[in-house]
């Protein structure tokens, strides 16, 4: 009786959450094994793994996976390293720190499409963009970002947008840093690099893990930046898994292939998650 009552009271919440998770998942699995195209509503039937086969045999599939992983790894690396650096920079008080903090955080609130278009037209345009003007001033041939370095351009845009997020988390984490320990270390003659390695980074370990987890979840489905700027890049140079699903299935209103693609994306996400948890989880207590 003692164990029954708490469980019974928790049951509605748990059951709701479970249904919330399981119903879409089961429906997606169901759609992925039938032929379901909105434009051809008459032909619905079980076709087994045909949707998966169609998605996997797409010539761009391998490239899409590689691009997704590169996008993930690059943006996470840039934001974590850059975020830690920025957070340390604005850790000590200085005049105007509040304003600088607000300005550093703001890029995160720009909408992804606006962000992408700003970069494409204002900064990266090879004729009238800021980078082009600076290059010409220095006498260097301007770089055609979207054509020659499409994936790198997308990485740049996304990293610029997510750097504030990482910075914010690290700034907050640094607040709870033990100042007396730091002072003691300084008085003992520890250099900044030693402080970094033995005091700052271990303290930030958990928040780095949080940042990586959250970014991984969101960056897997980057779409808006690619759609508005390169349209998948010359060829499939900047096509990631999300864009491939869009191209293959959503444009066709083919819910069957889209569901198959989504489930493959889940598999990829889980593989990446396992690696990350192994790598980072080991460093946490």
């Amino acid at each position: 009786m003692n164990r029954f009552l708490p469980r019974a009271l928790l049951a509605p919440a748990v059951v709701t959450l479970f249904l919330w998770m399981i119903v879409p998942l089961l429906m997606t699995i169901y759609f992925s094994v039938i032929r379901y195209n909105l434009m051809q509503p008459g032909e619905v039937g079980f076709i087994g793994l045909e949707n998966y086969q169609y998605f996997l045999t797409d010539p761009s599939f391998g490239t899409a996976i590689v691009n997704t992983l590169m996008l993930l790894a690059s943006v996470i690396a840039i934001t974590v390293i850059g975020g830690v650096a920025l957070a340390l920079l604005i850790d000590e008080p200085f005049p105007g720190r509040a304003l600088v903090r607000v300005l550093l955080i703001s890029p995160f609130f720009v909408m992804p499409t606006v962000n992408a278009l700003l970069w494409k037209h204002m900064m990266m345009n090879p004729i009238y963009g800021v980078f082009a003007q600076v290059s010409r001033f220095l006498g260097v041939q301007p770089v055609d970002w979207m054509t020659d370095l499409p994936l790198f351009s997308v990485i740049l845009m996304v990293a610029w947008q997510w750097l504030p997020f990482a910075t914010l988390i690290f700034v907050t984490a640094l607040q709870s840093m033990n100042r007396e320990q730091l002072e003691a270390a300084r008085m003992d003659g520890a250099t900044y690099l030693q402080q970094l390695r033995y005091l700052y980074v271990p303290h930030l370990g958990r928040s780095i893990a949080v940042v990586i987890m959250i970014e991984m979840i969101f960056l897997m489905s980057i779409f808006a930046e690619i759609y508005t700027t390169t349209g998948g890049g010359p060829g499939d140079a900047s096509t990631n898994l999300a864009f491939l699903i869009f191209k293959q299935a959503l444009l066709n209103f083919d819910a069957g292939v889209a569901s198959a693609g989504a489930l493959l994306a889940i598999v990829l996400a889980n593989i990446v998650a396992i690696f990350l948890i192994r790598m980072i989880g080991k460093n946490l207590d």
């Binding site: 195209n37 909105l38 434009m39 051809q40 509503p41 169609y54 045999t57 797409d58 010539p59 494409k120 037209h121 345009n125 090879p126 004729i127 009238y128 301007p142 055609d144 979207m146 054509t147 020659d148 759609y227 700027t229 390169t230 349209g231 998948g232 890049g233 010359p234 060829g235 499939d236 140079a237 096509t239 191209k247 293959q248 959503l250 444009l251 066709n252 209103f253």
Partner: protein, 435 residues
Amino acid sequence: MNLRSAFALAFGLAVAGVSNAATELVIATVNNGHMIEMQKLTKFFEQANPDIKVKWVTLEEGVLRQRVTTDIATKGGQFDIMTIGMYETPIWGKKGWLQELKPDAAYDVDDLLPSIRQGLSVDGKLYAAPFYGESSMLMYRKDLADKAGVKLSDHPTWAQVKDLAAKIHNPQAGVYGICLRGKPGWGDNMAFLTTLVNTNGGQWFDMSWKPQLESKPWKDAINFYVDLLNKYGPPGSSANSFNEILALYNEGKCGMWVDATIAASFITDPKQSKVADKVGFAQAPVAVTPKGANWLWAWALAIPAGSKNQEAAQKFIAWATSKDYVKLVGKETGWGSVPTGTRKSTYTNPDFLKAAKFADAEKKAIDSANPNDSTLPKSPYVGVQYAAIPEFQAIGIAVGQQMSAALAGKVSVDQALKTSENAADREMKKAGYYK
């Protein structure tokens, strides 16, 4: 208050609510200038029809397409009127998803430009009423052509255009010979490239629906395009679509541009363009055949077959695409902002002709386009710069990506066409056109 009077009150209120209910029309629309104008002028319609209230749902083009297609395919019934293009109309009309439009005599349906009307009808039945139409044409810098000593005819060939581009191409002075679309997309670079293929005598699919992307006309067209843009085009072309080139043209950086006729209204507007008075117009260039050399597009209003407010919807559509509406916009906003490309009467209106210098060229272009006959060899599909089949969007973007890669020099033209042919073949097989 006792239970009985409470019930009586509730009943009375409910009845009152029902008897005052006006018909509410929900309209899904695209967020372009003409529709924003129409929303501002809706009060005139509501004044004339006090029993109808209009609710607007404005979305960006890609999102609109998604929402509207999903709604109509699942018979969601969310919208009473939908803004659809010339691409969807034949597909949905044939499937029986749209209500046939039957306007009265006062509407003067014969006043609609014939090619636009044809593009929005199936088997002679009108399924969507146009509120905006366009074709494509060549817009060139008359001052640069004069300086080079070249006079372009009204129907130039692509060879002549290439010659002129070579003469006026001057990157040191910041002028590029010709600007053309390159961003991947079925409505971006592929709209232009399809017309280039058409005029070289090619087609998307032969009569047994097999894709023809490795045929000679395709090879000729794409090789010409890659060569022309790489030699005489601006850098970054493989990511340029309408808006990007418009910005370049307005800054005076493009010597020539082949694109939508509506572009002419922007580049001749002194408020936006630095070269407003230096622009000349000609019909879209031709190569082997004039068929399909210039495209045809219209945004139109249609009624989903499942709508519960058919009569009110027909009334609204008749109002929004009528001659009087054009005059209303002219009076309230100015003749430079009236929706063009729909009715013959607009093009004989002196106020409009005064405000729009490109009107003649535009009408000629629209009249010469025929979505039912736009390729030299006979084709099983309708559409000038697209094939009106549901699979086309996915095929279009896949091929568009390859064309953009060929332009950027990442793959050879032959390789790009081979990959495109395979992608198109995969899609057509999956959709069951052939085994």
